[in-house]
Assembly symmetry: C2
Homo-oligomer: 208 residues x 2
């Protein structure tokens, strides 16, 4: 069982939160709009708590479930409150046309969040190739993730399994750039005929 | 039924060639090493032909199944012989450590091949997220592809289906950059615990 805090109260926060409660994890919701946070927490379950914006999250694992442009500013607002935490950046930094990334080629939102948080914070990129509809469906799906700290990734892996999802370790934090690119690939596949009823994943060969 | 030419005689050429023969397609092999081309052709089937290096391929669809660094030089060597053809670039331009791409951030091997071929050539990126072992296994898998010409992509899609694989249209040729990045992602997942008994693909949600 993990203890998580979700910063954000949108569809991704709802999808992750509902699976987390179902998986027996402790869940806290923090949003700038406290009424929205309270409403989401209440709909998720009676044990789900809320916290003040910018205060220390109760969860050991903190989802940054905000729009990509807010990820770094929000990480900075929380600042030392994120010390020692595992922070999962789930954002997709799409440009205005959804055909390219809105971050420089040599970095990623996850890397920028890593640079903006205390040295003791472990940033993991992940969940960005899941449409919120897939999260809401409760169906199994693959979750790609990447990060530099092996212990943090092991904790995230355990959490992912508790969410009814399959953890797929893609490598260190430099891979976050390509995971953000995989978000673009997923958008391309959606436009190419798959719609939103799918997620990027892996096909395991027989006998493996 | 499609008519294809494979430029190359390595493991990817063998995997694509064997599936193509099984799918009832006409297959030609062209390699710089003519003995190697003849050997591969013979092992694939009695109807499989070979062609001289640099000569006009008999296939309407031409696989560029060479190492990534050779893709543009080979395309230039064939030059006008590729006019009117659909050229599928299957290469993965990994850097020496397999952690980044060896092409500039704003392009792709596929785009560079497109620039190096006649205006009437339609370049499609694809098959680069398939390990040759998966191709050899004969099992189903997803094939991501991207290109600018809708008719060319429809032809490639038909061919992919005949190979016992699932066509997944990812968008226009600008997506080739992210497909090449998806090759890196696949390497990261392989190192992260999946080995080579898998391929990148999609999980279709129930009811879709």
């Amino acid at each position: 069982m993990s203890s998580i805090t979700i910063i954000g109260a949108g569809n991704m926060a709802r999808g992750i939160g509902s699976r987390a409660v179902r998986g027996g994890n402790t869940v806290q919701i923090i949003a700038r709009d406290e009424a929205k946070a309270a409403s989401l927490a209440k709909s998720l379950g009676t044990d789900v708590t809320t916290g003040a914006w910018g205060s220390a999250p109760t969860g050991d694992i903190v989802f940054l479930a905000v729009l990509f442009a807010s990820a770094v500013p929000v990480a900075k607002e929380f600042g030392e409150a994120l010390a020692g935490k595992i922070v999962i950046d789930i954002t997709n930094p799409f440009n205005a046309t959804g055909t390219g990334l809105a971050v420089p080629d040599d970095t990623s939102v996850a890397k920028l969040v890593d640079e903006a948080t205390p040295a003791s914070t472990h940033v993991v990129k992940g969940f960005n190739t899941l449409f919120s509809q897939i999260l809401a469906s409760g169906e199994p799906a693959d979750v790609f993730f990447a990060g530099d700290d092996a212990q943090a990734k092991a904790s995230v892996s355990t959490l992912i399994t508790s969410l009814g999802l399959r953890p797929r370790d893609a490598g260190d934090l430099s891979m976050a750039h390509w995971l953000e690119g995989a978000g673009l690939l997923e958008m391309g596949l959606a436009r190419g005929g798959l719609g939103i009823g799918f997620s990027l994943g892996v096909n395991i060969a027989e006998g493996n």
